[in-house]
């Protein structure tokens, strides 16, 4: 029998892990000489008590949903896609090319085109490491790290040498045409007469595409035969071969889906927010996807919750940096602690719980 009930595994273990990360972060804040409670209050007020705060939080959340889902899909195939950052950068390039060089009549069509462009570019960028893993056995963790650096080089080249408008000093593309601009939450709220809601916050319709992506990934992984094969390969390579699942094909497909999801992050950042392609627009979201996927236990619903939490932390972190002497990098520390305790040190949380449930069982018997 499984030692622990399923709900402990799904809810209690991640909860305790996050709690430990929170306590350690609080200690760090005390060490800096600030009050963790005041900091938390500030974060909550700045994020949840203002509609603009929500607008920023959901903007970050959108990014993290995409990258979190991407890492999750790869995890299900037992692949560690650490290259989300690079795939998102190349996805941004796809968005920029689609938005700049195709005359879109309306944003509704532009977002479809940009999504396809982002997905295809991200897919290609993830496809090469996937191919090297599937056919040449090159460790995908190392290749995707290398591809992150190469992607940064490629993006830099395009921005400095190709897409930069003549006369501009800024390594950025030209502004996208207004017909490609996505409605923000402020625009949408104005339709219903709330002109003041979400003022100047970057959250936009891409958020709903991210929610759709959650649903799509859920169906893919848990309901479709392809998802079944991805999970089968992830759990046991020899068994998958026995069942007639082609490992090469599944590795390729899983990584390309993962790359496509990372790429699609760019519709939020590049088409939705900056409305032109800039350097460093990914802001580490590809890496945060790892924390989100680990915390969300690679389940789309868990990813959604974890992405909301990290969205909150990012917006809250910005508030802290603004009003206290706690720098934004505190969030990076929290993110590291979450990865550490939900991922690498999970046995530290699980072992005592397992012992507890074992003694419960023995007491019953």
């Amino acid at each position: 029998m499984d030692i622990m009930p399923k709900w402990v595994d799904i809810i209690v273990v991640p909860f305790i892990s996050v709690l430990i990360a929170a306590v350690l972060s609080a200690l760090l804040i005390i060490a800096i000489g600030e009050s963790p409670i005041a900091a938390l209050n500030l974060m909550i007020e700045g994020t949840l008590f203002r509609s603009a705060g929500w607008g920023y939080m959901l903007y970050y959340t959108t990014n993290f949903i995409f990258t979190g889902l991407a890492v999750s899909v790869a995890f299900h195939a037992a692949l560690f896609n650490i290259g989300g950052e690079g795939q998102a950068m190349i996805g941004g390039l796809g968005v920029a090319l689609v938005c700049l060089f195709i005359p879109w009549p309306h944003w509704t069509l532009a977002i479809i085109g940009a999504s396809i462009g982002a997905a295809v570019f991200g897919m290609v960028w993830a496809g090469l490491p996937a191919y090297l893993q599937a056919k040449r056995g090159s460790h995908i963790v190392i290749t995707t790290i290398m591809f992150n650096f190469i992607a940064a080089g490629v993006l830099n080249f395009f921005l400095v040498d190709v897409l930069k408008p003549k006369g501009s000093m800024d390594p950025a593309s030209a502004n996208f045409p207004t017909t490609t601009h996505l409605p923000t939450f402020q625009d949408m709220a104005s339709i219903f007469g709330f002109e003041k809601a979400f003022r100047s916050a970057p959250a936009n319709v891409s958020f709903f595409i991210a929610i759709l992506a959650c649903a799509a990934v859920w169906y893919l992984i848990w309901r479709s035969p392809l998802g079944y094969e991805i999970r089968a390969l992830g759990k046991s390579g020899p068994a998958a071969r026995y069942a007639g699942v082609r490992p090469v094909k599944i590795i390729m497909i899983a990584m390309m889906i993962s790359g496509a999801l990372c790429g699609m992050m760019a519709i939020n950042t590049t088409q939705g927010e900056s409305e032109r392609l800039i350097l460093n627009f990914t802001e580490g979201a590809g890496f945060i996807g790892i924390a989100v996927a680990l915390m969300g236990r690679s389940h789309p619903f868990g990813v959604l919750l974890a992405a909301l939490l990290f969205g909150f932390l990012y917006q809250g972190g910005a508030e802290l940096a603004l009003w206290t002497k706690i720098p934004r990098e505190l969030i990076v520390v929290i993110q590291a602690l979450v990865i550490l305790f939900t991922g690498a040190l999970s046995l530290m949380v699980r072992a005592p719980l397992e012992r507890f449930f074992m003694s419960l069982q023995k007491a019953k018997a």
């Binding site: 029998m1 499984d2 030692i3 169906y219 309901r223 479709s224 035969p225 079944y228 094969e229 999970r231 089968a232 759990k235 046991s236 020899p238 068994a239 071969r241 026995y242 069942a243 007639g244 699942v245 082609r246 490992p247 090469v248 094909k249 074992m358 069982q361």
Partner: protein
């Protein structure tokens, strides 16, 4: 005289599983002591405790009459205990010499240790007739040779007590005989040997005394001369064993599987199958005997569609395309009426982290009957069907939502069998159907296979257990080094004749 080894009331459990319970054992010096029992009876655990690999929960260990504690392998080595594990513990890309020296170096620098070992190895080799090339790399030498390195490793560490865990599993009968000669030689030199095995023949051939284990408990300790294979078998399983399967003579009809000139080269360029020709007819069980590692696994892999090969395979008269079969044609072959119970159910046949219902469609998950529509699987229907199937095959507990790893070995195998047999295939490939399965389930599994044959289906059975081959098959082929050595009728042959074929002694010679 003091016993060389004495264990008193040893107990060990892994989580909820009690692997050893109050075991007492005593072995006199200069003898060969056998420990026999079914898979999972707790033999290996007991010996691992003696070697310091695990720590016993309770109990005492005496060596040469002195009570000692063995917290780790270093302590076991220090009191003169050596162990040859079933899966060798060698560093594959190290030389023989480096493997022997590892952990028994004479100083911080390597080269003095190596040259010292080289001289001592030469002495040991001449003393016990254990010749190996000290500079050979482990991955380049055969399993028989690797086993010698393991024995030499123990002797180099001055072991007086040598434990061997299932040492003949990977050896041909000839290699096994050679091993036994070495063991007798060691006994003459005054060494004490503990031999763990599940093969009755080995116990009768070589041991002086024998202990029988069953479900973690020691059921008896006897002098080998005072016992018989039948008695031991009964002690092992706890009741009279039906060694033969009740079945009527086969009524073979049309050929279902035809294999012509099948050859296969593995990833390392080694030829694993050499011009295999065979036919399996409807209504018969064709058994393939052989020592593990002589191409049987590769034959199953090629037939199952996950290894490329050259030659011709016909299923129901239509040829299977082998040229494109790099891997992943298993589903196409299943659709053609082939079913496959793989050799290793935990590695291949099941996904241990999947629930029973998910495993119940494994390999058939893209079939129409399992699909709700073009895009999605019909999970509810699969769950319901699985529950019924589990009841029919007496899987306990019949809960489709339980994860595969939570079932016992026999019940896991029943889940695999239920999946493959209930498809009503024309051809069933079966590899090691009863490995690690308890006796009760063995009988059930054998009955199911015979019943399928009686429905007029073709069955290709591969097993390293000669008993199983002889009692189930209607015809027997013997494989050695990727080749078919000959065909026999089970009623007109015996273990000795098959053993010679399994060792590669050619057909004419065997007759």
């Amino acid at each position: 005289m003091e016993p060389a080894i004495e264990l008193k009331k040893i107990s060990k459990s892994f989580g909820p599983v009690q692997a050893n319970k109050d075991i007492n054992i005593s072995v006199m010096p200069g003898t060969i002591h056998g420990i026999i029992g079914e898979n999972g009876a707790g033999k290996s655990t007991l010996m691992s405790i003696l070697y310091g690999f695990y720590k016993a929960d309770a109990g005492e260990i005496f060596v040469d009459g002195k009570k000692i504690s063995i917290p780790d392998s270093q302590a076991a080595i220090a009191v003169g205990i050596g162990m040859v594990f079933q899966h060798f513990k060698l560093v594959e890309n190290f030389s023989v010499l480096e493997n022997i020296v590892l952990g028994a170096e004479s100083g911080a620098l390597l080269s003095p240790s190596l040259s010292k070992a080289r001289t001592e190895l030469a002495e040991l080799a001449s003393e016990y007739e254990l010749n190996v090339d000290p500079d050979a790399i482990i991955e380049d030498i055969g399993v028989g040779m690797q086993q010698r390195v393991e024995i030499l490793k123990a002797l180099y560490r001055k072991a007086n007590i040598l434990i061997l865990d299932e040492p003949t599993g990977v050896l041909t009968p000839a290699e096994a005989d050679q091993l036994f000669r070495i063991l007798k030689r060691l006994r003459e030199e005054g060494k004490t040997i503990i031999l763990i095995t599940h093969k009755l023949r080995e116990i009768m051939d070589i041991t002086d005394t024998v202990s029988v284990m069953r479900q973690g408990e020691m059921t008896a300790t006897l002098k080998t001369d005072d016992t018989s294979p039948e008695d031991l078998a009964e002690l092992m399983v706890g009741r009279k064993v039906l060694l033969r399967v009740d079945k009527t003579p086969a009524k073979p009809t049309d050929p279902v599987l035809e294999i012509q000139n099948l050859s296969m080269v593995d990833d390392f360029g080694v030829k694993r199958l050499k011009n295999i020709n065979l036919t399996v007819k409807a209504g018969e069980i064709l058994g393939i005997a052989g020592v593990a590692g002589n191409g049987q696994s590769e034959l199953l892999q090629v037939l199952g569609g996950y290894s490329a090969a050259t030659g011709v395979i016909k299923l129901n008269g239509s040829e299977i395309d082998l040229s494109t079969s790099v891997s992943g044609d298993g589903q196409a072959r299943r659709a053609m009426g082939m079913a496959h119970v793989p050799e290793d159910r935990q590695r291949e046949g099941l996904i241990m982290d999947f629930m029973a219902w998910e495993n119940a469609v494994f390999g058939y998950h893209r079939e129409k009957s399992n699909q709700a529509n073009r895009f999605f699987m019909d999970n509810n229907a699969i769950r319901k069907e699985t529950e019924e199937k589990m009841k029919r095959f007496d899987v306990r507990p019949p809960n489709p939502k339980l994860t595969a790893k939570n079932f016992s070995g026999g019940n896991q195998q029943k889940i695999v069998l239920a999946r493959e047999i209930e498809r009503n295939p024309d051809l069933l490939l079966v590899g090691q159907p009863t490995r690690g399965v308890d006796i009760g389930a063995i009988e059930f599994i054998h009955q199911q296979i015979v019943a399928l044959r009686d429905q007029g289906k073709a069955i290709l059975l591969i097993s390293v257990e000669l008993d199983e081959i002889l009692s189930l098959s209607d015809r027997v082929l013997v494989m050695f080094d990727g080749e078919i050595m000959g065909e026999r009728q089970p009623e007109n042959t015996n273990e000795k004749e098959l053993g010679l074929l399994m060792a590669g002694v050619s057909e004419e010679f065997a007759q």
